[in-house]
C-alpha cells in the first residue's frame, strides 16, 4: 500500500492512469485517507456530479494483512445528497484485495467527454480500463454475474447499479462479499451517484499471485492479533450477541425504549417489532437452511452477517441489517420479514442506500402514495426507482427531496440526509450527533463508544445538557479515529470494556508499521479528521444553522414518552469547541 492509483476520466483519448506515491497522505487509511484527499483536492463549491469532484476509495491501514476485522473500505467524495464532505464505508472483500494489490487508494477524477460506460480491471499485471456499454442498465447482481463469467470467481467487485448510473442521490457503491454477491454497500450520501458521474460501472479486483501484506515485526503482530481476537471473542457483544442475531438484535431494545421511529417518525413503538426482530429473523434463517452467523469478509471473527432464504429455501438476500429492517419495516409499518428481505435485495440490486430508501418510502406513504403497512406498494416504489421512472427519480433523490415535492413537513433529515433508526427525542444524545455530524444525520458518527479508553476528554456532568454535548463530541472523535484505521466499527464494544483489547489494536498497528502510536495519538487523528471535514463543509457553505434537527422534533412530542428534543441551539454550537 505504498501508492495511490489515480484515474483521470477526462483524458483527451480516454481515461488516463497514473500511480503516485503516498506523499502527504502516508500513514492514512479509510476515512482519514478519503477525507484528506477530498478536503485538499476538491473545490468545496464544486458540483458533486461535476468534473472537479473526486471519488476516493480507500482500504484500511491493516487491510490485506492477516489482521482480524481489517476488511472495511471507505468511499469518499463531495456528497450529492448533503452537499458536504462524505465518507461511507462497507465490508466485503474489496478492501483486502485492493490492499494486497498495493493500493492505499483509488481516486476517480474528471469526467469522460463521451457517454461511454467503463469498467476498470486491476490485477498483478496492472490496470486496464475498457469501454463496455453492454453493462449499461445492469443491476448489481447481473453485473457481478457477468464479471464472474469473464474474469473468474477469484475477483472482488466495486460497482454501481442502475441508481448510480442515473446519478440518484440515494445511490450506493456495492462491494462483493465472500460469496461474490454485491451485498455490502457504502450506502450513505449518494457516493454511487458520484461513481456514476465518472461513468465507471465496475472496478474488478483480482489479487491472484499477490501475497498477504507482511508486518515489520511479524512476531509482535501475530501476538497482538491473537490478543485482539481473544478480546473480541470473549466480549458478550462481539463474541455472542452479534454473531447469534446480527445487528437486528437491536429491534426489541430500541422498540422497548420507545425510541424506534415508526410511521415516518410519528410514534416511538411498533406493535409488530417481535415479528421482525433479530431473534425471530435468526430463527427463521436457520429453519429455512440459511445462515444466521456469517462473516462479510475473510478475516472477520465477529460474523454479524447471515444469509436469508425465501420460503422455498432458496437464497433471497444477505441477512438484512437492523437499519434496513427498521427503515423498510417499522418506519413504514411493515412487519413481514420476507417482504423486508425482498426490499433489501432490490435495494442492493439497484444500488440504493436502504436507510435513505426506507425513510423516503415512509415520507411517500405519509404523502399518500401508498398506505403504511402495504409492503407490496413499498416494493413497487423501489422498482420505480430502479427503473428510473419520473416518480422513481424523485424517490431516488432521497427523503428531503421527496418531502419537498409532495409538500410534506415531516422530513426526518439533517443536511439533506435521512435519519437512521433511533428517535432523537427519546434519546437526546443521539440527536446532538445527528445535528452536528459532518456527514448529515448519521448513527455511526458517534458509534464508537470508546470514550473512557481514548480519553477524548472528561465528562462535565453527564446529566446536564453540557454533558450531552461533551459526550457527543468525544464519541464523534473516537468514531472518526476508528473509521480512519479502516477497522470494522463493531470492534468498539470490546475496546470500551476491555482496555487490553484496545492495547492489542494499537500493538497491531505499531508492529505492522513500526510505529509508537498511543491512545492520545489515535484521538488526535480523530480530531484531525473532523477538523478537515468541518473546514470543507464551511467552505462549501455550511453554517451553524445547518447543525440543527428539523424544527418539528422540537414541537411534536413522540409517544410513548411524549417528549420533544430539548437541546438548545447554542449548546449544539459548542460540540466542536475544543
Amino acid at each position: 500500500m505504498e501508492k495511490i492509483l489515480r484515474i483521470n476520466m477526462s483524458g483527451e483519448k480516454g481515461p488516463e492512469v497514473k500511480e503516485t506515491p503516498l506523499g502527504d497522505y502516508a500513514g492514512l487509511g479509510g476515512r482519514a485517507m478519503t477525507s484528506a484527499i477530498i478536503s485538499k483536492e476538491v473545490p468545496p463549491l464544486c458540483h458533486p456530479l461535476g468534473t472537479e469532484n473526486k471519488l476516493v476509495i480507500a482500504p484500511g491501514l491493516l487491510s490485506g494483512t492477516a489482521g482480524a476485522m481489517s476488511g472495511r473500505i471507505s468511499v469518499g467524495c463531495k456528497s450529492p445528497l448533503t452537499g458536504g464532505i462524505k465518507e461511507a464505508n462497507a465490508g466485503g472483500q474489496p478492501a483486502q484485495v485492493l490492499a494486497r494489490l498495493g493500493y492505499a487508494a483509488i481516486v476517480l477524477e474528471g469526467k469522460p467527454k463521451t457517454n461511454d460506460l467503463y469498467k476498470v480491471i486491476i490485477n498483478k499485471d496492472g490496470v486496464k480500463i475498457e469501454v463496455d456499454n453492454s453493462l449499461r442498465g445492469l443491476p448489481n447482481y447481473d453485473l457481478v454475474a457477468k464479471m464472474r463469467s469473464q474474469y473468474g470467481d477469484k475477483i472482488a467487485c466495486i460497482s454501481i447499479g442502475t441508481a448510480g448510473e442515473m446519478k440518484l442521490a440515494a445511490a450506493s457503491v456495492a462491494c462483493t462479499d465472500t460469496e461474490l454477491r454485491p451485498t455490502r454497500h457504502a450506502g450513505r450520501g449518494g457516493v454511487g451517484a458520484v461513481m456514476g458521474s465518472k461513468q465507471v460501472k465496475v472496478i474488478v479486483l483480482d489479487d491472484t499471485g499477490m501475497k498477504v501484506r507482511q508486518p515489520k515485526d511479524p512476531e509482535a503482530f501475530k501476538d497482538a492479533n491473537k490478543r485482539f481476537i481473544e478480546g473480541l471473542t470473549k466480549h458478550p457483544v462481539t463474541g455472542q450477541g452479534l454473531p447469534a442475531y446480527g445487528t437486528n438484535i437491536l429491534t426489541n431494545i430500541i422498540n422497548e425504549a420507545g425510541a424506534y421511529p415508526t410511521y415516518n417518525f410519528k410514534d416511538g413503538k411498533f406493535a409488530g417489532a417481535s415479528k421482525i426482530s433479530g431473534e425471530t429473523q435468526a430463527e427463521l434463517e436457520v429453519k429455512r437452511g440459511g445462515v444466521a452467523t456469517h462473516g462479510c469478509h475473510r478475516g472477520c471473527v465477529i460474523r454479524c452477517s447471515g444469509i436469508f432464504h425465501d420460503k422455498d429455501g432458496k437464497y433471497l438476500t444477505k441477512q438484512p441489517e437492523y437499519e434496513t429492517v427498521w427503515a423498510h419495516g417499522g418506519n413504514c409499518g411493515i412487519d413481514d420479514l420476507d417482504m423486508i428481505a425482498q426490499l433489501d435485495f432490490w435495494d442492493d440490486n439497484y444500488g440504493l442506500d436502504t436507510i435513505e430508501m426506507g425513510a423516503t418510502i415512509a415520507v411517500a406513504m405519509e404523502a399518500g402514495l401508498a398506505k403504511f403497512g402495504d409492503a407490496k406498494a413499498a416494493l413497487d416504489l423501489v422498482h420505480e426507482v430502479g427503473k428510473g421512472t419520473h416518480l422513481g427519480r424523485i424517490l431516488g433523490s432521497g427523503a428531503a427531496v421527496t418531502a419537498k415535492v409532495f409538500g410534506i413537513e415531516r422530513a426526518p433529515v439533517v443536511k439533506g440526509q435521512a435519519m437512521p433508526a433511533y428517535d432523537p427525542r427519546a434519546v437526546q444524545g443521539i440527536g446532538v450527533t445527528y445535528a452536528t455530524s459532518t456527514m448529515g444525520a448519521d448513527h455511526t458518527a458517534g458509534y464508537a463508544i470508546a470514550t473512557n479508553i481514548l480519553k477524548c476528554g472528561g465528562f462535565v456532568d453527564p446529566l446536564s445538557t453540557e454533558g450531552q454535548i461533551d459526550l457527543s463530541r468525544n464519541l464523534q472523535i473516537a468514531t472518526a479515529a476508528i473509521d480512519s484505521t479502516g477497522m470494522c466499527l463493531f470492534i468498539a464494544f470490546a475496546l470500551l470494556d476491555q482496555p487490553e483489547t484496545f492495547q492489542a489494536l494499537l500493538d497491531m498497528l505499531n508492529s505492522f508499521y513500526g510505529l509508537n502510536l498511543t491512545a492520545d495519538s489515535v484521538t488526535e487523528l480523530g480530531k484531525k479528521v473532523l477538523k478537515m471535514e468541518r473546514e470543507f463543509n464551511e467552505k462549501a457553505g455550511f453554517t451553524k444553522e445547518h447543525d440543527r434537527l428539523p424544527s418539528y422534533f422540537k414541537t411534536e412530542p413522540i409517544s410513548p414518552h411524549n417528549i420533544t428534543f430539548k437541546i438548545k441551539d447554542e449548546d449544539l454550537d459548542k460540540v466542536f469547541n475544543w
Binding site: 457483544v237 450477541g241 447469534a244 431494545i253 425504549a257 425471530t280 437526546q428 448513527h443 446529566l463 414518552h561
Partner: protein, 131 residues
C-alpha cells in the same frame, strides 16, 4: 409448558407479590440468580424506561419488565444499567420512587436475545401461572 421465541419477546404474564424492589422481585419470585442478574442482564426496562438502579426501582401492578444481555451500538449501549453513556437517554430513564402497591398482582415479563435460551426454561419452573 413451552414458550416460543416470539412469545418471550412479546412477554409472558406472571402473577407475583408486589410491594418490593425490582431486584427483589426478579431474584425471589421468578428466581433469577442474583449473580446472573448482576453480570449477564445488562439492560432492564420497566414500562418502557431503562432502569439504572434495581434496588431502588419499585414495581407496580401491571408492570412490563423486559430483560436483555449487553447491547451493541451507541443507543443500544446507552440502555445499559449505569453505563458509561447511559446519560444519552436520561430523559426516558426509569424513576425510582417507591410505589404504594402491596398484595398480589400481575406483571408481563419479556426476554430478549440470548436470555431467551439461557433463562426461559429456568423461569418457567418457577412460574405458577402464565398467559
Amino acid at each position: 409448558m413451552e414458550v416460543s421465541t416470539q412469545r418471550w419477546q412479546e412477554g409472558v404474564e406472571l402473577e407475583v407479590s408486589l410491594g418490593c424492589s425490582l431486584k427483589e422481585l426478579l431474584t425471589k419470585q421468578p428466581h433469577i440468580p442474583e449473580d446472573y442478574l448482576q453480570k449477564r442482564i445488562a439492560v432492564i426496562f420497566l414500562n418502557g424506561s431503562p432502569v439504572d438502579d434495581i434496588d431502588s426501582t419499585w414495581v407496580g401492578d401491571g408492570a412490563v419488565i423486559a430483560l436483555s444481555a449487553q447491547m451493541l451500538g451507541l443507543v443500544g449501549a446507552a440502555m445499559s444499567r449505569k453505563g458509561l453513556i447511559s446519560p444519552l437517554r436520561s430523559s426516558i430513564s426509569a424513576r425510582t420512587e417507591p410505589i404504594n402497591s402491596n398484595g398480589r398482582g400481575t406483571i408481563r415479563l419479556k426476554l430478549f436475545n440470548a436470555l431467551i435460551d439461557e433463562l426461559g426454561s429456568t423461569l418457567l419452573k418457577h412460574i405458577s401461572t402464565t398467559k
